[in-house]
């Protein structure tokens, strides 16, 4: 069977059924993505590599808890996010936020529309240039949206924050970037 035609969820189902070799497909598909995500959040190649490796191992050990009727990518991104947050806390490069006002109250939901290609490319360029200047809580949704192309709902599932908060953070991040780039 050509494994390229299998969806992530189908591959995950195979792994759940005991086909450990099928996990190589998952690792193959997500190594680049998670490394890119890790580099942008942690700003360290070595830390990103450690965390991504840890995330793959964690995903494998707990793959039975994955609900194969749902999308696989937010699930594995969530595991990676947790590994990155733990790493950040350990190194205490910046204070972690335990209570975030953005998540407390309802906000009007900013539209989760695909920007026109040109605008999107321009934003990707700006994000690439100005990412370091952003507060970490704005950096992560921006990276997931522009580089990993996750939807607002998927980002909400990765970060465990309200969907409306994803929109608020992305918009605030864009405004901050507009000032520095």
């Amino acid at each position: 069977m050509d494994t390229h035609v299998l969806t992530d969820e189908e591959v995950a189902r195979r792994v759940q059924a005991g086909d450990e070799e099928a996990y190589a497909i998952i690792v193959d598909r997500y190594s680049d993505k998670l490394m890119r995500y890790g580099r942008r959040i942690l700003r360290s190649e070595e830390d990103a590599e450690d965390c991504v490796q840890e995330s793959f191992i964690k995903a494998y050990t707990s793959i039975q808890s994955f609900d194969a009727t749902r999308r696989f990518s937010p699930w594995i991104y969530r595991i990676a996010h947790n590994a990155f947050v733990t790493k950040i806390r350990e190194s205490a490069r910046f204070p972690t936020i335990s209570l975030d006002l953005d998540t407390l109250f309802p906000h009007p939901i900013a539209p989760d529309t695909a920007d026109r290609v040109a605008i999107r490319r321009e934003m990707e360029r700006r994000v690439g240039e100005g990412l370091d200047t952003l507060d970490p809580k704005y950096r992560e949704p921006l990276v997931l949206y522009y580089f990993d192309e996750l939807s607002y709902q998927e980002i909400a599932d990765v970060l465990h924050i309200p969907i409306a908060t994803v929109g608020v953070r992305i918009n605030r991040a864009k405004k901050q970037l507009a000032l520095v780039t």
Partner: protein, 254 residues
């Protein structure tokens, strides 16, 4: 860069193939889910119990009935609220929220919606439970010595004294300006009132043997100068009143 990625893949796969990393069996996840669900059920049940108990105390001590006195009764009522129970309710709601916030239907919505949703569930459940009369039956069983536990909780809130608010049964014929009130603590209070004042306009609504609440100030050791008097017909309020003819008490006589 590609080489680094390949090394990463190799390390992950070799850990899996060597057996260093092994898949947790499905039942681990099922057990985890069961424990979370059990915790949520325990906390929800606790929250429901506390809400219904608070409701029981409010009705029983006449705090709800005191609302009829209007804003001037606000501070006495505020001070008489069962704050420890309300604090424990807040703890139950908070703990339940922390437990369920891992689920998408909670975290996808703003924090206030999540907390409010959990609180509303506990409140609705508590009010429904309160209608079953379970606390009244427990309290009666404790009073009759049939239950070896719970006395501290139930009797602790019994006839809770409230500043400026006095409850009891009218123990004498209602005179032109005074009558005697027997409180749940068997205290006999002389209630003085001015029948011509509109504030005590409800005074004609009650008679000897009725359960009432009096709003007024203590002017002597057993004398109260009433500014308002209300009859209370709620059977649950009347349960701990002194024996006698108690109007509005047909259902829960023991």
């Amino acid at each position: 860069m590609g080489e680094e990625i390949n090394k990463l893949k190799d390390r992950v796969l070799s850990e899996i193939r060597s057996g260093k990393a092994h898949m947790e069996p499905r039942w681990h996840d099922v057990l985890r889910g069961f424990l979370y669900a059990s915790g949520a059920v325990v906390l929800f049940t606790g929250g429901v119990f506390v809400v219904s108990f608070v409701h029981f105390v409010l009705v029983r001590n006449g705090i709800l009935a005191a609302g009829g006195f209007g804003f001037r009764a606000f501070f006495p009522v505020f001070l008489a609220l069962p704050w420890m129970m309300l604090l424990s309710l807040a703890i139950f709601v908070g703990a339940l929220f922390l437990l369920v916030r891992r689920y998408a239907f909670v975290y996808r919505h703003p924090f206030v919606y999540g907390v409010a949703g959990v609180a509303v569930f506990a409140l609705v459940g508590g009010f429904v439970f309160a209608q079953l009369g379970v606390h009244e039956r427990i309290e009666r069983a404790i009073r009759m010595g049939q239950l070896p536990f719970g006395e501290g909780l139930y009797r602790g809130y019994d006839a809770f004294p409230m500043q400026s608010l006095y409850s009891g049964v009218v123990a004498s014929p209602v005179g032109a300006n005074s009558f005697v009130l027997q409180t749940p603590r068997q205290e006999m209070l002389t209630i003085l009132y001015d029948a011509s004042r509109s504030a005590t306009g409800t005074v004609t609504d009650f008679d000897e043997g009725d359960a009432i609440m009096v709003f007024g100030e203590r002017t002597g050791s057993t004398t109260i100068q009433a500014t308002d008097i209300r009859r209370v017909d709620d059977a649950r309020f009347l349960m701990h009143m002194p024996r006698g003819r108690r109007s509005g008490f047909p259902r829960m006589m023991d």
